[in-house]
């Protein structure tokens, strides 16, 4: 049982190192992920320089390749030097992540390249610590990673699954990965910038426009304004021989824009030819 546990650690460490290598080489870190200011206070120059070096592409690729070599070596050989190098590497990573958590938690640990941009927390430190423990456990494992894979025992499979589940729970990268995989959402219609040209194009192609077009007396709108997801366009019109106003509400959504229409009596008709004075109805000066 103990041997099976030790063999599983070899497989686990090899898988993690290869995954970290792949992530570092393929997922680039976003430039904006490491701010120069934290709550408006500039990051100290020394820390900022260290962060810049750590986040440089050359350093990331170098680390990734080193991890890849270690991961492959764990799979191919059972030599103690490889196991020792892996354990030392994870011990060093634990120290680095611990220091980052204290000094630059906002910059992310970069453990899995661009996927590790989230704030460094206790979970990341604990994860690195567990990897170091796994490295220590793997020191005296008799088999190479490939040998373990050739003949997967039930105990090995179970231990591996439990460990992967535990590490997944400790990994903020999974949420980031899922977020990146998700289709980019449309901006909400309430706050999406919608140019007038788009509004008019949608309006002129709509059934509501076709239904009221002949009643419209002037192509120049009386008023155009917006409230949330709707831009309103009001036109003067003649309906059944009487003055009226046709109001169109055009959606400002990214796609499937709809148009609604309604008619209303103009102020002059409602107030018997003289515009009623309404308290609080001052003309609004656009800026």
């Amino acid at each position: 049982m103990v041997t099976a546990f030790q063999n599983t650690q070899v497989l686990l460490l090899a898988a993690v190192l290869l995954a970290a290598c792949a992530a570092k080489l393929t997922v680039r870190e976003r430039a904006a992920d490491a701010p120069d200011h934290v709550h408006g206070v500039p990051v100290p120059a020394g820390l900022a320089r260290l962060t810049a070096v750590r986040r440089s592409r050359g350093m990331t690729v170098g680390l990734g390749l080193g991890e890849g070599v270690l991961g492959l070596a764990l799979l191919m050989t059972s030599h103690l030097s490889v196991r020792l190098a892996t354990t030392v590497a994870f011990a060093a990573a634990t120290w680095v992540v611990g220091e980052l958590r204290v000094h630059r938690p906002d910059a992310g640990c970069g453990c899995f390249g661009g996927l590790s941009g989230k704030r460094v927390g206790r979970r990341s430190v604990l994860r690195a610590l567990l990897f170091t423990a796994a490295g220590v456990a793997s020191l005296s494992a008799p088999l190479t990673g490939v040998d373990v894979l050739r003949d997967v025992q039930v105990q090995v499979g179970l231990v591996f699954a439990v460990e992967v589940a535990l590490l997944a729970a400790l990994s903020p990268e999974l949420a980031e990965l899922l977020e990146r995989r998700r289709m980019p959402a449309d901006p909400p219609c309430e706050r999406r910038r919608s140019p007038m040209a788009e509004t008019y194009a949608t309006l002129y192609e709509s059934e509501a426009w076709a239904a009221h077009e002949n009643a419209i007396a002037s192509a120049v709108p009386l008023d155009v304004w917006r409230e949330g997801c709707w831009r309103f366009v009001a036109f003067a019109a003649r309906v059944d021989g009487r003055d009226a106003e046709i109001v169109f509400a055009v959606s400002t959504a990214e796609r499937d824009r709809t148009v609604r229409a309604g008619s209303v009596q103009p102020d002059s008709v409602r107030a018997g030819g003289v515009r009623a004075a309404i308290p609080g109805d001052a003309a609004l000066d656009p800026c």
């Binding site: 909400p188 709108p221 800026c287």
Partner: protein
């Protein structure tokens, strides 16, 4: 295009959307108080006479009436000709009187020995604020970067030399005015915005009562500014004349106010109010002094924790 009017827009909107979204019911919400802005005509220990909106307003003064004029003031501050804002407690009794109060908030353009020149945004122009030595300390505590490019917000009292700083309005945001971190473009718009409400203008301001809202659409006759920042809260776009419901979370009062100005300056302030606990970041509305006082806000305090609900059209099946 002719000048739009609030009532005409409401009427036209009702032609398309019959139902209006009701503001979230608040069992604890209290109605606003009454406040008035005017010019002192006469003042005695028992009566204050104002010229307000072309009419004469008489208000009862009692021993509990508190007068502010750059600090705790007395009857002597109520000189004829001075602009005041009065909050009434009922039956025409003046509860609070602010004499010559003004506010300067914006981007610092230049700093002199005891003056600061401030760009208050495209609608409010520029102001030169005098910061006297006794006010410099408190202002610097809340505005550690009193240098060009950073934001400033100070409560002032009118003087013959222009606005004179009395105390800081809110704490200075740590970033440069043009370095605001806006929310993601896809961030959803909450039904109710939470943040801080401040006030703008001065006691003699001529703006109609209402609010400056940070996200006024810039297309058509909506009234917004094309280069306005998007603010640090996901705001829904509105227009001049749109109605918003502002709730003072500290005092519990709620009022519906129209949008009367685009608050492109408020959009630059990603600050908090700590009047009753720390509010979420974001200056979600700037009110005229009368609207602010009516909602129970203390003008000299500068802000209250607020929630804002925009009266948006409700899409219902035809």
């Amino acid at each position: 295009m002719p000048s739009p009017s609030r009532e005409a827009r409401r009427r036209r909107r009702a032609a398309v959307f019959e139902a209006s979204s009701a503001s979230p019911s608040r069992a604890e919400a209290r109605p606003p108080l009454r406040a008035v802005s005017g010019m002192v005509l006469d003042a005695s220990p028992h009566l204050l006479v104002l010229a307000a909106g072309g009419t004469e307003v008489r208000l009862v003064m009692t021993g509990d009436t508190r007068v502010w004029h750059g600090g705790r003031g007395g009857l002597a501050a109520l000189r004829p000709g001075r602009p005041v804002i009065v909050r009434r407690s009922g039956r025409g009794v003046a509860e609070r009187v602010w004499v010559g109060i003004a506010r300067v908030s914006g981007t610092v353009l230049a700093c002199g020995r005891d003056t600061v020149e401030v760009d208050m945004g495209p609608h409010r122009g520029r102001a030169r604020v005098v910061i006297p030595p006794h006010a410099l300390g408190p202002v610097l505590v809340r505005h550690p970067r009193l240098e060009p490019g950073y934001l400033i917000d100070v409560i002032c009292v009118e003087s013959p030399d222009g606005p004179r700083a009395v105390r800081p309005g809110t704490s200075q945001p740590g970033y440069r005015a043009d370095d605001l971190a806006a929310p993601e473009a896809t961030a959803p718009v909450p039904g109710v915005l939470h943040g801080t409400a401040t006030w703008f203008g001065d006691a003699g301001g001529e703006a109609p009562d209402g609010a400056a809202y940070p996200a006024v659409d810039s297309e058509g006759a909506a009234g917004g500014c094309a280069d306005a920042p998007s603010g640090c809260v996901p705001f829904p776009y509105l227009s001049l004349g749109s109605e918003i419901t502002v709730h003072n979370e500290c005092g519990g009062r709620t009022a519906a106010v129209p949008v009367v100005e685009c608050g492109c300056l408020a959009a630059r302030f990603c600050d908090r109010c700590v009047e009753c606990g720390a509010s979420p970041r974001g200056r979600i509305v700037e009110l005229t002094p009368v609207a602010f006082a009516a909602l129970g806000g203390d003008l000299e305090a500068g802000c209250f924790n607020a929630s804002v609900h925009a009266d948006l059209p409700v899409e219902e099946p035809w």
